[in-house]
Symmetry: C2
Subunit: 191 residues, 2 copies
């Protein structure tokens, strides 16, 4: 029975380096145009060396998305309101179109239950929906959102809207995604 020893210090560092480099390269080149070859070259590894760490390109990209989630979370840890946090992330994403493209392409592909990252998105959406629904309720209690609104449906709506706006904004959209999001929030105020 082979005992598992876990990654060496060197491996841990290399993983970090790969994720950081991948985030940059993808943010610049987008998803489809980023090959494992290019990624491997960017961190001074062979392709096989790169895949040793992540197993497959899809797993690597899933790890990149998780890393981005974590970066967003820690950057916005001071913001307790989930809706404000979502809005800030949407604003920030204007600067990293490649990552937005990775996210939207990957989420679309992962709709297939067979897809490696399917569960990642199931969990991510569920978690987001819960925290946003709470935020809606808090705002309702504070009188900032009409009580006619259904918190779960508004949460689902806010996520769909963010995702959809970010895709649409890549095609000569006049309005900024965050503006449209804010317009919805304004309209949800009790009259």
């Amino acid at each position: 029975m082979a005992t598992t020893r876990g990654p060496y210090a060197k491996g841990v560092a290399k993983r970090e380096e790969i994720l950081t480099a991948a985030l940059e390269v993808i943010a610049r080149n987008g998803y489809r145009k980023t090959s494992t070859r290019e990624l491997a070259a960017a961190v001074g590894l062979s392709e096989a060396g790169l895949l040793h760490y992540f197993g497959s390109k899809e797993k690597l990209f899933e790890a990149v998305l998780r890393a981005r989630d974590e970066a967003d979370t820690s950057r916005l840890s001071a913001e307790p309101d989930a809706i404000a946090k979502l809005s800030a992330i949407v604003r920030h994403n204007t600067d990293v179109p490649g990552l937005v493209q990775l996210y939207s392409t990957f989420s679309a592909e992962a709709g297939d239950p067979q897809h490696r990252a399917h569960e990642y998105f199931v969990e991510r959406y569920q978690r987001l929906r819960e925290t946003l629904a709470e935020s809606v309720q808090t705002r309702q209690a504070a009188g900032a959102v009409s009580t006619a609104a259904n918190p779960e449906k508004i949460a689902t709506m806010l996520i769909a809207l963010s995702d959809g706006l970010q895709v649409q904004s890549q095609f000569r959209l006049d309005a900024e995604p965050a503006e449209v999001l804010d317009h919805l929030l304004a309209l949800l105020r009790p009259e």
Copy 2:
């Protein structure tokens, strides 16, 4: 200088056949899992033969999406209201997840201005935005939508919401996309 003669009747028929077959195969297998090889086999052509008609895989998929747009339009030609039409399409799309996946994956990838289908989406979104904005104005005049709503922003919102909901609905979403869309429309009513 060669005169352009255009496709022969046989070619036109074959094109139709390819699009119909591609629609079926994609609806079943999704986008990424559908290869030109498989598509060629499904219509009894070699790969080269298939590509003769559409030039590239991307062009073929763009043609599939245009064919779907046309099918939707003619199926719903009796419905004059763009918002009602959008809602009906969203409902209908529940039955064709593969196509929804093709659409969402393709639109995400086409965010890159270099992408072949970039212009297709630019035009599609623009057209949709215009007709939806008109529909919002009509509803405002009829008292069904609050005049506080900005027609262009609501139009953008409705599109983003439809797109985003359809992606999200592939991941164990409790609510139906059309329900959430209806909830928004209900909340947009003047109080």
